[in-house]
């Protein structure tokens, strides 16, 4: 296996394009969480309260607890990204998002947008919420808390070396597509 690479906010086009599907990457710095409500809101032309250019969207609904004036993340991890497939490509193009973090991979439109606009899809470890919460250094803010609720809100998180795998790179390669193809061949052998 290749050596773990590092990615820091703000995420440059060059840094993103240097990554290849299958690489392991530690990502640090500011990321924004967003899931079903946020993607629908943005795709329908709703206002975006943060600057997403050269930034990252993390498909994640954290468990957050009030901590004085701020917040503490008790658990956080990726949610299934494929639900955002109808919206993701247009959001990547319109806002200049460089990194999407999630789980399970995404479809053809997102893969094409990653290639066209220089974006990368990173697989975080699904369900490993205690481990991932340790990689969140702090909560810097939150938007849409009342409108979307705590789970769907847009949280501003500063990550400290979150371990991920490049699932889809900026060159049209997808680990998931390879696995799907190979497993389909095996399925045909098994069920005739």
């Amino acid at each position: 296996m290749s050596v773990m690479k590092e990615l820091f906010y703000p995420f440059s086009e060059a840094a993103v394009k240097a990554l290849r599907a299958g690489d392991t990457v530690r990502i640090s710095g500011l990321v924004y969480t967003g899931r079903d409500r946020l993607h629908k809101h943005l795709a329908e032309g709703g206002k975006c309260p943060v600057q997403l250019r050269d930034g990252a969207i993390f498909h994640c609904g954290p468990v957050t607890v009030r901590d004085g004036d701020g917040w503490r993340v008790a658990a956080a991890g990726p949610t299934t990204s494929i639900r955002e497939e109808p919206y993701m490509a247009s959001i990547i193009g319109k806002y200049g998002v460089r990194v999407v973090i999630g789980k399970g991979g995404m479809g053809k439109q997102t893969l094409a947008a990653c290639r066209e606009f220089g974006c990368v899809y990173l697989q975080a470890v699904g369900g490993a919420a205690a481990l991932l919460a340790k990689r969140i250094r702090r909560v810097d803010g939150v938007d849409f808390l009342d409108e979307f609720g705590a789970t769907e809100a847009l949280w501003h998180l500063t990550l400290d070396g979150l371990e991920t795998v490049v699932g889809m790179d900026a060159h049209g390669n997808s680990v998931y597509d390879e696995v799907r193809r190979d497993s389909e061949q095996r399925l045909r052998e098994l069920i005739g």
């Binding site: 991890g77 470890v125 369900g127 609720g149 371990e163 005739g192």
Partner: protein, 291 residues
């Protein structure tokens, strides 16, 4: 007098944070099967580390703390309404402590119900037993895996599945293939052959309470469980759908009668985080761990 609120709050806390040993052992076995330093080994080791960390901290294993489904077996005449109310109070308390995510949405208004308590939330099922103690099982099943559950109606010409056990086998392999990594593989299949559609989903979900090393008493079903587990793991989908030798940790199958016209195969897909815990509470209110 049994303090049900305290007992059920503790059950929720343990279920959300303390992965049962059977699942932890299955993950360790899966990790040892992968080449050292491989991507799949790295992912499985992260799951193992996460399991230890969540247990030590008493914090959620997974941020999707799931649908909470309680299964109660109670003596004749037991007050089930009081149990249901205690379960609701326990869920609200666990949510306030940060052990459960604010995970309940009003389907019409889209508003978050921040204490996770509503009509039918948590889900409580009651059955009468002939004993004088109360047995309680809690299943916490996240949305990513629930979205991957599905139901087949045989015959299914798309996958060449007829109305027999080989047809069932084809459904199960198809379900695993369709799920890929979307349900946080390696997962567990709970399966019901037969029944009507609604009962099929309930019985399939109940299969997810069985320990991972449990084998069906029925030799035909035991063979089906063994074969589907081996064949599914030969698909190469692997942890998180990124390739690897372990795609499933277990296959648990039951059967029910069916109507002559119907032949449903219902698959409840559970992620690697097998959050199922049981307790037996005696007449003095003393709980005993069943995992």
């Amino acid at each position: 007098m049994t303090n049900w609120v305290d007992i059920l709050t503790e059950l929720v806390h343990r279920t959300t944070s303390d992965l049962p040993r059977d699942a932890e052992q299955a993950l360790a076995t899966a990790a040892s099967a992968e080449a050292a330093g491989s991507r799949s080994a790295m992912l499985l080791e992260a799951l193992a580390e996460n399991t230890r960390l969540a247990r030590a901290q008493g914090s959620p294993l997974c941020q999707d703390t799931g649908t909470l489904t309680f299964f109660f077996d109670v003596p004749q005449g037991y007050d089930t309404l009081a149990l249901e109310n205690a379960a609701k109070t326990a869920v609200a308390a666990a949510t306030a402590n940060g052990w459960l995510r604010k995970n309940t949405i009003d389907s019409l208004s889209g508003r978050s119900i921040d204490d996770n308590v509503a009509d039918g939330a948590p889900v409580c099922h009651f059955e009468q037993s002939d004993r004088d103690d109360v047995e309680v099982w809690l299943l916490q099943k996240g949305g990513g895996s629930e979205n991957m559950s599905r139901q087949y109606s045989l015959p299914d010409s798309a996958i060449g599945a007829g109305r027999d056990l080989d047809g069932v086998r084809k459904c199960l392999l198809d379900a695993v293939w369709r799920t890929q990594g979307f349900g946080c593989a390696p997962g567990v299949l709970g399966v019901c052959i037969g029944a009507d559609r609604a009962e099929g989903f309930l019985q399939a979900k109940k299969q997810l309470l069985r320990p991972l090393d449990d084998v069906s008493d029925n030799p035909q079903l035991a063979e089906l469980e063994r074969r589907v587990l081996a064949e599914a793991n030969s698909l190469g989908i692997g942890p998180m759908g990124m390739g690897g030798k372990t795609t499933l940790l277990g296959v648990k199958v039951t059967s029910r009668t069916r109507l002559p016209a119907s032949f449903f195969v219902t698959v409840a897909y559970l992620c690697w985080a097998c959050r199922h815990r049981g307790i037996l509470v005696d007449a003095n209110g003393e709980p005993q761990d069943l995992n």
